[in-house]
C-alpha cells in the first residue's frame, strides 16, 4: 500500500460513516406531530421525581405530568380549577377549606385515591427526616410548622382532617388568599402510601419507589421509561379521571444541560420545546422566527443585595444613590438585548393585579446629591465596594456595566469578585460581601413570596436589614386583612418602606425564554411559566 492508498482507505471510511447516516427520513418533531408525542427540552436530569423531595423547575414539569393535586391551575389565567377535588368551600373567615374529592379519582394501578392519601402525604411532607426542602409551602396549615420543628409530635393537632374518604378539611393559621395556589403546587401532591412503604421507610430518601417499574401516580400521564441522562418518557394514563381530554399520547423529557446544544437540537427538529435560549441567539430567532420565539414576563427579579452593615452602605443615602445611578433601560437594551424588563421594585409588575410602587428612577444628579449629603462628594472617601457574583457570562456583563455606571455617574471605583456557585452561596450566607448579585423566583403569584424574604432574620435575608414596621406589616397586619384590596395596599406600604430603605437594588424582571415549535397548541404563556400538559396538543402545519 502506497501512502496515497493509505489516505484513500481513511477517506473511504469517512464517506462510509457519513453515508450510513444520510438517510434520516423524518425529524423527531415531525414523527412526534404525527403520533402525538411531545419532545420537551427539560434543562437538567431530574434529581428525583418524588414530589416531596424534588425542588427544581425540570422536576416540577415532570411531576405535573405524573401527579395531580386537589386543585389545578388554568394555564391561561392561573385561576384554581377542579382536579382531584371536584369542588371545595371556604368558610367566610378564610380559615377552613373543605375539599370534595371526585368519586372516580384513583391511582394508576387502580387503587382508589382518597382523602386519607392526602393526609398521609402531607404528614410525610412534614417529616424533618425526609429532608423536604419545600416543606415551608405547607406552613400556612395550622400547626404544620410546629410539627416540623418537633414542638408538636401528634399529627392530629395539625389542621388536616379526613371527614370521610371523599372529604378533606384543612384549617389554616391565618387567612391565606393564595392557599389554593399552594394546594396546586407539587409539594401538595399525593404520594401512594401502599407503594412508598413497599420499597422502604416512609422518610427514606434512598428508596426505589420512583423507578419506572415501581412507581404509581395519579396524574394525566404515567412513567413509561427513565434512562439516566438520556430521557424520561411518560405516556397517557388510561385510568386518569379526565383521560378523555388528555390529547398527547406521550411526552419525552430530555436533560438538555447545554443550552447551545439544546438550541441546535431544536434547529434540527429534535425538540418541540427548549427550556432556554442562548442570549446571543435571541436577536436572530426574533428576527427570522418571531412566532417560535417565546419571551414572556416571568415571576422573578434580578437584583443586587447590599450588606447594610458594611461601611458606607450603613447610610441609606448611599444605598439610594447607588440605585439611582443605574441606567436600567440602557442596561437591559444593550447587555440583555432587550429581553428583560427594567425593575424598580422587588415584586414583578402585574402579580395578580398588584402594581408595585415606583419610588425612584434613573437620576444621576439626584444620586450625586445624595452621595454628597452622605459625606462622599464626587465619590471622595467612599469605603471600598465590591460586586460579588457567581460564575456566569451574563452576571459578569451586568456587573461590568454597573461598575462603569457607578464610575461614570458617581465617580466610585467598585471591584468585581467572581466565585464559583457554591463558594458564592457560602460567602453570601456568611455576609462576607458588600454588594452581591441575587435573584428570586416566586413560588406562587402573590407579592408575599417576594416581600416576606426581608423580615428581620429571615432565612434568605442575607442583607442584615431590619425594620420593625416592615416586620409588623408582613408578619401580623397583612395576614389579618380580609380583602385583596386591603392586602395589596398593605404590601404597597411594605414595599414602599423596602424601596426607600434600599437594602436591595432591583435591576430587572426576568423573562422566560423558550423556542416552541409552531405545531404545539394549548400552551398559553403565563407569568409562572406553568404548563398544563393535559391541555397541550400537537397540530402539524399543513
Amino acid at each position: 500500500m502506497t501512502p496515497r492508498s493509505a489516505w484513500r482507505v481513511a477517506a473511504l471510511m469517512m464517506v462510509g460513516m457519513l453515508l450510513a447516516a444520510c438517510d434520516r427520513g423524518h425529524t423527531r418533531v415531525e414523527e412526534g406531530d404525527a403520533t402525538g408525542v411531545l419532545h420537551f427540552g427539560n434543562g437538567t436530569e431530574p434529581q428525583s421525581i418524588d414530589p416531596q423531595i424534588a425542588t427544581g423547575v425540570p422536576e416540577s414539569r415532570i411531576l405535573e405530568a405524573l401527579f395531580e393535586g386537589l386543585v389545578g391551575k388554568d394555564p391561561a389565567t392561573l385561576a384554581p380549577r377542579p382536579a382531584v377535588a371536584e369542588s371545595w368551600e371556604v368558610t367566610p373567615d378564610g380559615l377552613t377549606y373543605r375539599f370534595h374529592l371526585r368519586a372516580d379519582a384513583r391511582w394508576s394501578d387502580g387503587t382508589p385515591l382518597t382523602a386519607e392519601d392526602f393526609r398521609w402525604s402531607w404528614w410525610r411532607a412534614l417529616q424533618p427526616a425526609l429532608g423536604n426542602e419545600y416543606a415551608y409551602m405547607l406552613f400556612p396549615i395550622r400547626n404544620a410548622e410546629a410539627f416540623l420543628d418537633g414542638k408538636i409530635t401528634d399529627f392530629s393537632q395539625v389542621g388536616v382532617r379526613v371527614l370521610d374518604p371523599r372529604t378533606l378539611q384543612v384549617e389554616l393559621t391565618a387567612p391565606t388568599p393564595y392557599f389554593l395556589q399552594l394546594v396546586s403546587h407539587a409539594s401538595y401532591f399525593p404520594v401512594p402510601r401502599h407503594v412508598v412503604e413497599k420499597f422502604g421507610g416512609t422518610t427514606d430518601r434512598f428508596t426505589a419507589w420512583t423507578r419506572p417499574e415501581n412507581i404509581v401516580s395519579n396524574g394525566p400521564f404515567r412513567l413509561a421509561g427513565w434512562k439516566l441522562n438520556r430521557y424520561l418518557r411518560v405516556e397517557k394514563n388510561p385510568l386518569y379521571w379526565d383521560a378523555a381530554h388528555v390529547r398527547l399520547n406521550a411526552i419525552v423529557f430530555y436533560p438538555t444541560e447545554n443550552i447551545a446544544t439544546e438550541e441546535r437540537m431544536y434547529r434540527s427538529g429534535q425538540l418541540h420545546y427548549t427550556s432556554d435560549i442562548p442570549i446571543d441567539k435571541i436577536p436572530g430567532w426574533r428576527q427570522h422566527h418571531p412566532e417560535q420565539t417565546w419571551l414572556n414576563l416571568y415571576l422573578g427579579t434580578y437584583f443586587y443585595a447590599l450588606n447594610v452593615a458594611k461601611p458606607g452602605l450603613t447610610d441609606v443615602r448611599v444605598r439610594r444613590a447607588l440605585s439611582m445611578a443605574i441606567d436600567r433601560k440602557t442596561l437591559v437594551e444593550t447587555v440583555q438585548k432587550g429581553i428583560n424588563t427594567p425593575a424598580y421594585a422587588m415584586t414583578p409588575p402585574g402579580t395578580l393585579g398588584y402594581q408595585p410602587p415606583k419610588l425612584f428612577d434613573f437620576d444621576p444628579q439626584q444620586a450625586r446629591r445624595l452621595l454628597a449629603e452622605a459625606g462622599y462628594p464626587d465619590g471622595k472617601g467612599m469605603p471600598p465596594l465590591e460586586i460579588l457574583y457567581n460564575t456566569h457570562e451574563q452576571h459578569r456583563k451586568i456587573a461590568v456595566a454597573l461598575q462603569q455606571m457607578w464610575k461614570k455617574y458617581l465617580n466610585i471605583d467598585v471591584g468585581l469578585v467572581n466565585q464559583e456557585w457554591k463558594v458564592y452561596l457560602d460567602t453570601r450566607k456568611n455576609m462576607d460581601y458588600t454588594i452581591a448579585r441575587f435573584s428570586w423566583i416566586g413560588d406562587y403569584v402573590d407579592p408575599n413570596t417576594f416581600l416576606d424574604l426581608w423580615i428581620t432574620g429571615g432565612g434568605n435575608n442575607d442583607t442584615g436589614w431590619s425594620n420593625a414596621e416592615y416586620d409588623d406589616l408582613i408578619l401580623h397586619r397583612i395576614p389579618a386583612m380580609k380583602t385583596q384590596e386591603e392586602r395589596f395596599a398593605g404590601f404597597y406600604r411594605a414595599e414602599s418602606i423596602l424601596m426607600s430603605e434600599m437594602p436591595v437594588i432591583p435591576i430587572y424582571t426576568y423573562a422566560n425564554k423558550h423556542l416552541v415549535s409552531p405545531s404545539v397548541k394549548g400552551m398559553p404563556p403565563n407569568i409562572l411559566d406553568y404548563y398544563s400538559f393535559k391541555d397541550i396538543y400537537l397540530e402539524p402545519a399543513r
Binding site: 500500500m1 502506497t2 501512502p3 493509505a6 489516505w7 482507505v9 481513511a10 471510511m13 460513516m17 457519513l18 450510513a20 447516516a21 444520510c22 434520516r24 423527531r28 436530569e45 434529581q47 428525583s48 418524588d50 423531595i53 425542588t55 424533618p128 427526616a129 425526609l130 429532608g131 426542602e133 416543606a135 415551608y136 416540623l148 430518601r205 434512598f206 428508596t207 420512583t210 439516566l228 441522562n229 438520556r230 430530555y254 436533560p255 438538555t256 444541560e257 447545554n258 447551545a260 446544544t261 441546535r264 437540537m265 434547529r267 434540527s268 429534535q270 456557585w421 457554591k422 463558594v423 458564592y424 452561596l425 457560602d426 460567602t427 450566607k429 435573584s439 428570586w440 432565612g459 434568605n460
Partner: protein, 311 residues
C-alpha cells in the same frame, strides 16, 4: 514478566490511597456544601439531611467509615440524586463513555497512523507539511470549539448527521467520536511520523529494500512494527485520557456518559460522586498505563529480554 506486573500492581495501592485521601479532604475543605442553594433550606430540614448523610459526624470518623465502606465495594449514595447510588451512576454512565472512548481511539489510530505514515514516507515535502500542520491544528484546537464547528457544518449546514444524542438516531455517534478522537489522532500522527522516520533510516530497512522486497512489505511488515512502539505506549494513557476527558464532548453532544456526572458532581458538591468517579478513573488510568507498558515491552525485543532476564 509476572513479577513485573505484580510489582506494578503493588505500587498502585499507595497511589490510589493517596488519591482517595487527598480527594476526600479537598472536596470537604471547598466552601459550600451539597445542600446549599439559592433558596435557604429550613434549619431543621438541613440538620435532618446532614444527619442522613452522616455529615454531622467528625470529619475523621466520616473518612474512616468511607474507607471501610470502600473496602466492601460500597461507594455510597449520591447527594444530588436521592435514591441513586454512586455505583448505579457509574454503571449507567460507563457504557456510553467507554463506547465513545473506543470509537475515538479508533479514529485516533486510523487517521493518525495514516497521516503519520504519509508524512514519514515523504519527509519535508508538501505531504509531510500538510499532514503535520493538520495534526498541529488538531492538537491545538480544543474540543469545545471543534465539536460545535463540526455540528455546524455536518449537522446544520449540510444536514448529514444528527447534532446530538447517543444511540437515538443512526449516525449520532459519528460526530462525538470524531471530535474526541481528533486531538488524539494528531498526537498519534506525530508519534507515528517520529517512530517511522527513526526506523526507516535503520540498516535492516535498507537491507529489506536491497533484497528487492516490494515497498508495501517493507513499510507494513518491517518498518511499522518498530515504528509504532511509541504509539502503543501512548495508547494506554490515551484511552484512560479519552475516558476521563470526554466530559466536554459529552456535554456538547448530550452523550449520557460518566464525564457529565463527574463535572456536575464537583459543581454540586456531591461528595460521594466526586470521590467515586475519581477513584474509578484513577483505577482506570493505573490499569491502562500498566497494560500499555506490558504491550510495549512485549513489542520491544530489548525490553522483553531484559524483563525475562530479570525474572
Amino acid at each position: 514478566m509476572a513479577r513485573f506486573i505484580w510489582l506494578r500492581l503493588l505500587q498502585a495501592i499507595p497511589v490510589l490511597f493517596v488519591v482517595i485521601t487527598v480527594t476526600f479532604f479537598l472536596v470537604r475543605f471547598a466552601p459550600g456544601g451539597p445542600f446549599d442553594q439559592e433558596k435557604a433550606v429550613i434549619p431543621e430540614v438541613k440538620r435532618a439531611l446532614e444527619a442522613q448523610y452522616h455529615l454531622d459526624q467528625p470529619l475523621l470518623a466520616q473518612y474512616g467509615s468511607y474507607l471501610r465502606d470502600l473496602l466492601h465495594g460500597d461507594l455510597g449514595p449520591s447527594f444530588k440524586y436521592p435514591g441513586r447510588s454512586v455505583r448505579e451512576l457509574i454503571v449507567a454512565g460507563l457504557p456510553a463513555t467507554a463506547e465513545l472512548g473506543l470509537y475515538a481511539l479508533l479514529v485516533a489510530v486510523v487517521l493518525g497512523m495514516a497521516a503519520g505514515i504519509v508524512a514519514a514516507l515523504r519527509p519535508n515535502t508538501w505531504r509531510d507539511y500538510l499532514s503535520m500542520s493538520v495534526a498541529m491544528a488538531g492538537i491545538c484546537m480544543p474540543t469545545l470549539l471543534l465539536g460545535p464547528l463540526l455540528v455546524l457544518v455536518f449537522g446544520i449546514w449540510l444536514d448529514w448527521l444528527p447534532v446530538s444524542g447517543w444511540g437515538d438516531v443512526p449516525g449520532d455517534k459519528i460526530l462525538p467520536s470524531l471530535t474526541l478522537g481528533a486531538a488524539y489522532a494528531a498526537y498519534v500522527a506525530r508519534l507515528t511520523r517520529g517512530g517511522m522516520l527513526e526506523v526507516l533510516s535503520q540498516d535492516y530497512i535498507r537491507t529489506a529494500r536491497a533484497k528487492g522486497l516490494p515497498e508495501r512489505v517493507v513499510i507494513f511488515k518491517h518498518a511499522l512494527r518498530g515504528g509504532i512502539i511509541p504509539v502503543v505506549s501512548f495508547l494506554g494513557p490515551a484511552f484512560a485520557g479519552l475516558l476521563s476527558g470526554s466530559f466536554v464532548v459529552e456535554t456538547v453532544f448530550q452523550v449520557p456518559g460518566l464525564g457529565r456526572f463527574f463535572v456536575q458532581a464537583a459543581f454540586n458538591r456531591d461528595y460521594t460522586v466526586i470521590l467515586g468517579t475519581t477513584i474509578f478513573f484513577a483505577v482506570l488510568i493505573v490499569v491502562f498505563n500498566l497494560l500499555s507498558d506490558v504491550l510495549a515491552a512485549w513489542l520491544n525485543p530489548r525490553v522483553r529480554g531484559a524483563l525475562q532476564g530479570g525474572a
